[in-house]
């Protein structure tokens, strides 16, 4: 196990190194540097530009620049943003990353949960009307032009019905005299979510270990969840932050809903195909022969054996969410890493764009690793091959 992890870690580091190098040189190969943006600016004299180039070391050889770039990255220094000068890039990314993460993490988890559940039933009732509706719906969701769907949702819920806020992360008027910054409040929300999730996992692990079966224990996790949420609300209420917390969540709702909705299609189809493939297996027939209840066959045989590609895909799409996020974040003006990337690219904020891009790549890599690990943990056959 340790050897596997060590090997894997080395692989990741090498990949990361090559990725960063490649990114650097691809971008280097592009004509001009960022100072060319100012070339047409009449207020910039050639001396000023040369001065600027010297300040950023752009007149040195490519290799010297490259080595410095690498050294800075290793020390966590991604440079200084141009557009928000003199804010360090890392500072900006640190602020935006959690927003993207929360949005996409919840959207992915919810949509895969729903998609898996629907896909299971769709495969179970293969060929019936409900199945056909679900499959047609999924294909439409997969092929629909996402920005358009998002626009429609914005239009319906925000303009037409006026239920949800139009855009943005928070309501600026409300926050003008808030005791804390939105980033801090957001941090608290994340803490609350993490603690609740950990508690929930702990409780269900304990329940499983104790082997408490039956109808009663089924209600314990929801009760724990409810209590945790209630106490979080009470805490926020006492510190006077509740209204701000609600404001953030309120702004989260629409992008979360649209993102979840659009992703259900692919996870549904994926699950359905996987379950149908498992249906062909001998052990499913044998399970039926043993007179096991349909629910047992559906959950412990079909769904359990079909879970592998679904979890892999979930891990990959979690990794991808930082890159796929550009569209969503732009459409909903959600100031996460994707929107940062787009704005930085459009505005010629070269260090910020590269920084955001590298972060995106790192998360993609983490997604791949998570997919591998999940695969290995879920299948006893593979679990062994790693253990040795």
């Amino acid at each position: 196990m340790l050897r596997y992890l060590g090997h894997r870690l080395l692989q990741i580091l090498v990949l990361l190194f090559v990725f960063i190098t490649l990114t650097y040189f691809i971008l280097q190969a592009m004509p001009g540097d960022f100072t060319s943006i100012y070339a047409s600016n009449p207020q910039m004299t050639p001396e000023m530009i040369a001065n600027l180039q010297a300040r950023f070391g752009l007149n040195e050889s490519v290799w010297v620049q490259y080595v410095r770039f690498l050294r800075n990255i290793v020390t966590g220094d991604l440079g200084v943003s141009f557009s928000e000068y003199p804010r360090p890039v890392w500072d900006i990314i640190k602020e935006r990353l959690p927003r993207t993460f929360v949005l996409f993490f919840s959207a992915n988890i919810i949509s895969f949960y729903i998609g898996f559940w629907l896909g299971k039933w769709s495969a179970w009732y293969k060929g019936r009307a409900a199945d056909k509706v679900l499959v047609t719906g999924s294909i439409s969701l997969i092929t629909a032009f996402y920005p358009l769907v998002a626009f429609m949702a914005l239009w319906v819920f925000s303009y037409h019905l006026g239920w949800l806020p139009l855009n943005n992360f928070v309501d600026p008027i409300l926050w003008s005299n808030a005791p804390l910054s939105s980033m801090q409040v957001f941090g608290y929300i994340i803490y609350a979510a993490v603690v609740t999730t950990a508690l929930l996992i702990l409780v269900s692990l304990l329940l499983r270990k104790k082997g408490v079966a039956g109808a009663k224990s089924r209600w314990i996790p929801p009760i724990v969840l409810g209590l945790a949420l209630l106490s979080a609300v009470a805490l926020f209420q006492r510190s006077g932050l509740l209204i701000y917390v609600f404001d953030i969540l309120y702004h989260l709702l629409l992008p979360l809903f649209v993102l979840t909705f659009i992703r259900i299609g692919s996870s549904l189809l994926l699950t359905r195909d996987a379950v149908l493939a498992v249906t062909q297996e001998d052990y499913v027939l044998a399970a039926r022969a043993r007179g096991l209840a349909p629910a047992v066959i559906r959950n412990r045989y079909l769904a359990r054996n079909a879970i592998h590609p679904v979890v892999t895909s979930l891990a990959l799409s979690l990794g991808e969410s930082f890159s796929g996020g550009v569209v969503t974040e732009t459409l909903f003006s959600w100031p996460g890493i994707g929107l940062t990337l787009l704005r930085a690219s459009l505005g010629g904020d070269y260090p910020l764009a590269v920084g955001a891009f590298i972060i995106t790549g790192i998360f993609l890599l983490l997604g791949h690793v998570a997919a591998d690990i999940a695969t290995a943990c879920l299948d006893p056959r593979l679990r062994d091959s790693i253990g040795r």
């Binding site: 429609m152 303009y159 764009a353 891009f357």
Partner: protein, 346 residues
């Protein structure tokens, strides 16, 4: 239990008797309703792409109908008492009652009346260009982009994948590591960064997309298939019988890998069109006209808030993107089954 075994046995027999795996794929396409539906849609789009230049040369005057520079001043309608036609104008059949009454009063002939009704069947955009013309004109670009990307992707993927499988050793190692690396390149962010640095047009886009997925994920998929075929005894037999390496690759590996390549070609088209639409939608792509750009024009001119009233600004383009992607996706999905059953036999 027997089920799996027996059906597999019988498909195997089918596989051996049919001349080539690709022919089996064609047979399946002909038999599948969804695939035929997809082909129908593609043919329809193809028809649009072909007929657009014809229309431009015959009935559509370029000054009015050019998808990029056209402009209709509607002055000929003033004489008919229609003054409320301003860009973005709704479809011209909107004013059908007025045209009909002008015809009845003898102001215009029946032919003219019909021509007026069909003047802008899908209306005009905020700067006065005909939506239908733009829609049809873009089809060609979408075809070029989709097919070019698919061909680049799949040629690279097929050649590199089979080579990696056949030669193994360092060739394999090199290309597999390269694939791992390229899969790390987040598609849309990468293109966004690129578009900031260079002028991204359709051909550039196709090449970048083709290289990224051709050397990336497609290579890995094709290699797995080629490995399965390779281990199949008859390839070995052909090698022992003295066929040259290249001959073996051409004669045995490629034909059995081709159906899978074809499948991924279809999926690549869907992905490429989606990417193009997204980038144009943000206005990051240097194209004269495309479906994504049409929607970009709408949102950039501020018609989003009243999008239901101005439905012709986004609905035709949005539907075109969705349908076009769906067509390729549907064919791909219906083929997936055959190709995977072939793959199992390997």
């Amino acid at each position: 239990m027997n089920r799996g075994r027996i059906t597999r046995k019988s498909t195997k027999k089918l596989h051996r008797t049919s001349a080539s795996p690709m022919r089996e794929v064609w047979q399946h396409i002909r038999a599948s309703k969804t695939a035929l539906f997809g082909i129908g849609i593609i043919l329809l789009f193809g028809f649009c792409a072909l007929i657009h230049p014809l229309l431009m040369h015959t009935v559509w005057h370029p000054r009015l109908y050019d998808p990029v520079t056209g402009y209709d001043s509607f002055s000929s309608w003033y004489a008919l008492g229609i003054y409320d036609a301003v860009h973005p104008a709704p479809p011209s059949w909107y004013w059908t009652p007025q045209f009909l009454s002008s015809w009845r009063t003898g102001q215009i002939s029946l032919g003219e009346c019909l021509a007026h009704i069909a003047r802008h069947p899908l209306g005009t955009d905020p700067i006065g260009r005909d939506i239908l013309s733009q829609l049809m004109y873009s089809t060609r670009a979408e075809f070029i982009l989709g097919l070019l990307t698919a061909i680049i992707t799949v040629s690279i993927g097929t050649i590199v994948g089979t080579a990696a499988a056949y030669y193994a050793g360092w060739v394999d190692t090199f290309f597999m590591r390269l694939a791992d690396l390229l899969m790390l390149f987040p598609g849309i962010p990468f293109l966004i960064v690129l578009s900031a640095m260079m002028d991204l047009n359709l051909v550039n886009l196709a090449i970048v997309l083709g290289i990224l997925s051709g050397f990336g994920s497609i290579t890995i998929i094709i290699k797995a298939q080629a490995l399965a075929v390779k281990s199949h005894a008859y390839v070995e037999a052909a090698r022992l019988a003295g066929g040259s390496r290249l001959w073996v690759v051409r004669k045995h590996l490629i034909p059995h890998v081709l159906p899978l390549s074809f499948l991924y070609m279809l999926f690549t088209v869907t992905a490429a069109i989606g990417t193009e639409a997204t980038l144009s939608f943000f206005g990051l792509l240097n194209v004269g006209c495309s479906w994504g750009l049409m929607i970009h024009t709408m949102s950039a001119s501020g018609y989003l808030a009243s999008s239901i009233r101005y439905w012709w600004l986004w609905l035709p383009a949005g539907l075109a993107i969705t349908l076009f992607c769906a067509a390729f996706y549907l064919i791909g999905r219906s083929l997936e089954q055959v190709v995977h059953s072939q793959r199992q036999e390997g």
